[in-house]
């Protein structure tokens, strides 16, 4: 029987790939830990995420500092508008400066608002609400 000879770079490559897969799956499995109650709650927000993408809100806006740079970060916009859903609707419809007016359907409005509520509920994206640890890491201290 012919023996297979594996080169040293191949061994390192395979070992690193295995580590990477373990790391990746540890992330993929996270939603499993969510309760059924929360899953139902997040269904509408998940649809809102699709509305966010459909109207390409990410071109200008950020979530946790990730996204476009033309408009403000919207992670906690719901909170900033005193949890006023009508104020959010007014922004969608009215537009401002570079932001065009969007003609969202009623259903899309509800879903997008639910999405922005859910981002707000995850924490606080304001850099002033982070503390600096002695090892140089940062941590959110105020939700």
């Amino acid at each position: 029987m012919k023996s297979i000879k594996i080169s040293v770079p191949a061994i390192f490559f395979i070992a690193l790939c295995l580590l990477f897969l373990v790391f990746s799956f540890s992330i993929y499995l996270k939603p499993y830990s969510i309760s059924t109650f929360q899953k139902n709650e997040f269904e509408l927000a998940g649809k809102g995420r699709l509305v966010w993408q459909k109207y390409n809100c990410q071109a200008c806006h950020q979530l946790y500092g990730l996204g476009g740079y033309l408009g403000p970060d919207l992670t906690n916009e719901f909170r900033k508008l005193n949890k006023n859903e009508d104020a959010l609707r007014a922004f969608f419809k009215g537009g401002m400066k570079q932001m065009p007016q969007f003609n969202l359907s009623k259903e899309e409005e509800i879903q997008l608002i639910e999405f922005l509520k859910s981002t707000d509920a995850t924490g606080n994206a304001d850099p002033r609400k982070y503390k600096i640890l002695s090892n140089g890491m940062t941590e959110q201290y105020e939700k």
């Binding site: 490559f13 990746s24 946790y64 400066k97």
Partner: protein, 443 residues
């Protein structure tokens, strides 16, 4: 040993040059919207122009890198390249590009940042990559002992395919409905995808260096140091992406892994400084040879961008720069200063026949080269300063409104647009020159 089949990589590099042209025009138009808010608002608007710019530049890099890998393997492989497979791959890219640009021009979005097009067009891209992998393996099988750049190309192709598929996990509600996990995966993808493209491009850079250098001792294809650097790059591709999401309330182990792994980049940084003097001598020797001149520009921009990237990877400093134009400066610096310089070096090497490669380049090329470097320095500085100012605003206890803060950045946005025009003009000189050469010499 050369095969008798024509280099199939050329067609990809030519297509990539066309996409770069679109990316440059859309980039300048997008920049204008920062200083003239109503500009094109009623037609394309920033919503279409930004993806047109970002995706076109991404495709310039992805398709250009594909062309480089094909060209390199065309030189190395002992049997003819799989001609049919490269044609199938090109056809799939063309289908995808027609769909994607149609998607952007009609406002039919639905995808994620950098991939905003209707997700259906991701399918031909993924399939084209499967074809690429099959073609690459069939070519690489004939090489007995792989130099480091063949390893890097294989790594880049495999990981691009894996990560590009991971990029579409959001279509499943299981992932999409958990915001923090979804964002974690999204930025895992964005970080690692850049890493996989770097493998393709840095592999090309090593390949070009080996071909240019006449000093046998300086060849790096089989050096232990080059393999060491390759594995360090691979580790960073896999685990370094977490520095994008220090602010996201994800698990601590993800953030700490990124923090620790990103600090290994100091090794690259120190190596660049260590090699500086030796490379300066080489630079003087080969200065007139354009592919080498672009590779030297790459070295400079790697130094600048890596220095900034390492600092941005320290969480306490990241808190100041995250979500600001400092991040844009970094991505512009890497896509233009590093990726595009390698691709232009490859363009001059692969698109121009050896008999026409000269050590006495036209004056216009030298002017364009330096105007590109100077314009990029100005672009980098304007974005960094705008970013630092926004960073200050983000941490100001008496924060003004977002609109007021953006008004204070206006002078830096004007400089951004001027330098952007400089970059576009300089690139145009190289694009026209290379395309003229291709037309003159036939396919």
């Amino acid at each position: 040993m050369k095969s008798k089949v024509k280099n199939p990589g050329k067609q990809f590099i030519v297509l990539a040059l066309f996409l770069l042209s679109i990316g440059l025009i859309a980039g300048v138009l997008s920049g204008l919207i920062y200083i003239v808010p109503e500009f094109l608002k009623e037609s394309l608007g920033f919503i279409s122009l930004r993806p047109l710019h970002v995706s076109s530049v991404m495709f310039w890099i992805i398709i250009g890198a594909t062309g480089c890998v094909y060209s390199g393997m065309w030189y190395l492989a002992r049997k003819p390249v799989i001609k049919v497979l490269s044609k199938i791959q090109m056809a799939m890219w063309l289908i995808a590009l027609i769909g994607i640009y149609g998607s952007y021009l009609t406002g039919n979005f639905g995808g994620r940042e950098y991939w905003e097009f209707n997700p259906v067009w991701a399918l031909p891209i993924a399939l084209s990559w499967v074809v690429f992998l099959v073609g690459f393996i069939s070519m690489a099988k004939s090489i007995k002992r792989w130099p480091v750049y063949v390893w890097m190309w294989l790594t880049g192709i495999i990981f691009f395919l894996f990560i590009f598929s991971e990029n579409y996990l959001w279509i499943f509600p299981y992932f999409r409905e958990n915001f923090v996990t979804d964002m974690t995966i999204q930025w895992k993808v964005n970080g690692s995808l850049v890493g996989s493209l770097n493998q393709l491009l840095y592999g090309t850079s090593f390949f070009l260096m080996d071909r240019i250098s006449k000093n046998e001792n300086a060849k790096i294809g089989f050096s232990k140091l080059a393999f060491g650097m390759y594995f360090l790059g691979l580790t960073n591709l896999m685990f370094n992406w977490g520095h994008h999401i220090y602010n996201l309330p994800t698990d601590n182990y993800i953030r700490y892994v990124a923090y620790i792994v990103s600090m290994t980049e100091w090794i690259f940084f120190v190596k660049i400084i260590y090699n500086w003097k030796k490379q300066l001598t080489e630079f003087k020797t080969y200065y007139s040879f354009f592919p080498y001149r672009f590779l030297m520009a790459t070295e400079f921009w790697v130094f600048v961008n890596m220095g900034q990237a390492i600092l941005m990877s320290i969480p306490v400093l990241n808190l100041y720069t995250h979500g600001t134009h400092v991040t844009v400066a970094h991505s512009m610096g890497t896509t233009i200063g590093i990726n595009s310089m390698i691709l232009l070096a490859a363009g001059f090497m692969f698109l121009i026949p050896k008999t026409e490669q000269t050590n006495k380049p036209a004056r216009i090329l030298s002017i364009a080269y330096w105007s590109l470097q100077i314009s990029l320095v100005l672009l980098f500085v304007s974005l960094d300063i705008a970013g630092f100012k926004k960073g200050q605003w983000q941490l100001d206890p008496n924060q003004s409104s977002f609109g007021t803060m953006m008004e204070t950045l206006r002078p830096w946005f004007i400089l951004l647009v001027i330098s952007g025009i400089g970059i576009m003009s300089s690139f145009t000189v190289f694009i026209v020159y290379l395309l003229k050469k291709v037309l003159k010499n036939g396919k």
